[in-house]
Amino acid sequence: MSVVNQPQRSGERAPDDSGRATAEFEPRITAFVCNWCTYTGADLAGTSRLHMASNVRIIRLPCTGRIDHVFIVKAFERGADGVIVSGCHPADCHYTAGNYHARRRFGVFRELLSFLGVDPERLTFSWVSASEGGKWADVVNETIERVRRMGPFDSYHGLAGAATPADDPFARFEMPAGATGGTAAAPADGHDAASQAPSGTGDAS
């Protein structure tokens, strides 16, 4: 995998996302793209100096057929607010049928994610060919705007526990509310906290 288009953010991102206010929220987007079409298309968008927001980290893979659903899960785990998966148009796959296989898998996975409550609006699937720099710019800009409106995906990022106070922002000790039985460490019983959502999950869309 290689990374291009390192975005220039205004200011260093704080290690703790919890302070991200929606007003100044810059979504973090991870894009998994195929090497042959979309990556080249993204490159074209860059060299054509098309206007594009800089929130996207591109991860290049040989083919959309190589893009496993766990990549998307990992992106959300590690702080992505949205994910783009993009590759060659149907019939254009460098490996003949990788994108067809991917289309089926993501058709299912998108529904699965949605059923488990991950709003599919956080995901963009697109076909962007090597010559479609403009389309790539549109895909990126539209995704960013959509995800910006949805707000940070803190409900997923926080699944493994709330960050401890600001003086120790990296340490995560507590089981989150609603975890199995709760640990004795939990300061208060949070058993039913999850059921008090939806408003509490921060994923209102």
């Binding site: 290690p15 590690r78 702080g79 493994a160 120790d168 990296f170 340490a171 995560r172 000790f173 089981m175 199995t180 039985g181 709760g182 640990t183 004795a184 460490a185 939990a186 300061p187 208060a188 019983d189 058993h191």
Partner: protein
């Protein structure tokens, strides 16, 4: 410990639970797992209970089905942080987890779950003291609820316990008319009662109190008698048999049915094996956790080279039985089992530990040239 037993009326219990909730002291108790269980005429499957922190008496499921998971999760959580780390400059900084746990109380623990705590204490303090386990133990006061025996899979009396065993409990509640007779067995239990004295009432003086005491003893005696019929084994010869029959074809008869899922270990109050994993949280920082693990999975003993000392489920199932009834006894004295029967009830394929123990005991008896102990009928029935 206590000079005189007290009474905890149903109202007193409700007050106590609310008081603890108001004070922010977690009160862990068997509670309905879902709303469905509480409903009149709920199906057996819906009447699931679990230990959890409760805030009101309506949640309590005292004297109902055995909670799905044992009490161990409150002392050895399914996952917990051992430390967190981050890169600082060229070095690494480690941050230990907090161990100053707030006081909590368990109300209505099954005696078989409470008894597991001192059993696992021995492992957790074998030359090296496990601070996290010990700190949670120190912070927790355990009141058990004398058990009326769940069903035929219970066999606490076959593993040195009984349905009202005091082991591992700081105090005990026994059901009587109007509430529970309360006894305390430790300073911690005593201190808890003293701190919440207004929720407890004195036993009526004279005959009224004696009636309740007799009721409590009768409750315990009935349960004792009932569970004693489920299983009886001679642990000495059982251990000898295990020690000398590592390669016995007996094990190949047990492995095929086993799914290798380790549900038995998840639900077991004494299974304490764990995995240690690193989880990156971001670039340059992460946590090390320990997670429940089980000897029933193929990767448990798998070497990085690909060599696996326990190649199949026959070997892995044997390990579970041997750990409980041979390895632990040789190291620490008693057995790594409290007879709660959860493994048998939870097993998706019907593997039954009481049956297996009866079977081994019968074989051991033949080896030893003696008859089976206790109720032969029960052992034979279970072994059939």
């Amino acid at each position: 410990m206590s000079e005189r037993a007290l009474l905890l009326t149903h109202d007193g219990l409700a007050t106590l639970v609310e008081e603890l909730a108001a004070a922010g002291t977690p009160a862990v108790a068997p509670a309905w797992a879902g709303d469905a269980g509480r409903a009149a005429g709920a199906s057996a499957a819906a009447r699931e209970t679990e230990y959890r922190t409760v805030s009101g008496a309506a949640e309590l499921a005292f004297g109902e089905r055995l909670p799905r998971l044992s009490l161990k999760q409150f002392f050895l959580p399914p996952t917990e942080v051992l430390f967190s780390w981050r890169r600082v400059g060229g070095g690494v900084e480690l941050i230990p987890p907090p161990t100053d746990f707030a006081a909590q109380v368990v109300l209505g623990a099954r005696p078989c779950d409470a008894a597991a705590l001192p059993i696992v204490d021995k492992v957790m303090n074998w030359d090296y003291a496990d601070e996290l386990w010990n700190a949670r133990r120190a912070a927790t006061t355990v009141f058990s609820l004398a058990c009326g025996v769940e069903d035929d899979s219970c066999f606490c009396s076959a593993v040195f316990l009984e349905p009202a065993a005091a082991r591992g409990s700081d105090g005990r509640l026994t059901p009587v008319d109007g509430g529970y007779l309360v006894e305390t067995f430790s300073d911690k239990g005593e201190a808890f009662v003293a701190a919440h004295r207004e929720s407890f009432t004195d036993l009526p003086a004279g005959a009224g109190g004696e009636v309740l005491a007799v009721q409590a003893e009768s409750f315990r005696a009935t349960a004792r008698e009932r569970v004693a019929g489920n299983l009886a084994v001679d642990h000495g010869r059982l251990r000898d048999w295990l020690d000398h029959h590592f390669d016995d074809p007996f094990w190949a008869g047990l492995g095929p049915r086993c799914n290798g899922c380790g549900v038995c270990a998840s639900v077991c109050p004494t299974c304490h094996c764990f995995d240690i994993v690193d989880e990156p949280e971001s670039v340059g920082r992460g946590v090390r956790r320990r997670n429940w693990d089980t000897c029933q999975t193929c990767v448990f003993t798998l070497h990085a080279s690909g060599h696996n000392p326990r190649q199949d489920q026959n070997a892995r199932f044997r390990q579970r039985v041997e750990h409980k009834f041979l390895v632990y006894p040789l190291k620490f004295g008693d057995v790594l089992c409290t007879g709660c029967g959860r493994c048998s009830r939870a097993c998706p394929t019907g593997q039954d530990l009481a049956e297996i123990l009866a079977d081994i005991d019968a074989r051991a008896a033949i080896d030893a040239g003696a008859g089976a102990v206790g109720d032969e009928g029960a052992a034979d029935e279970a072994a059939s």
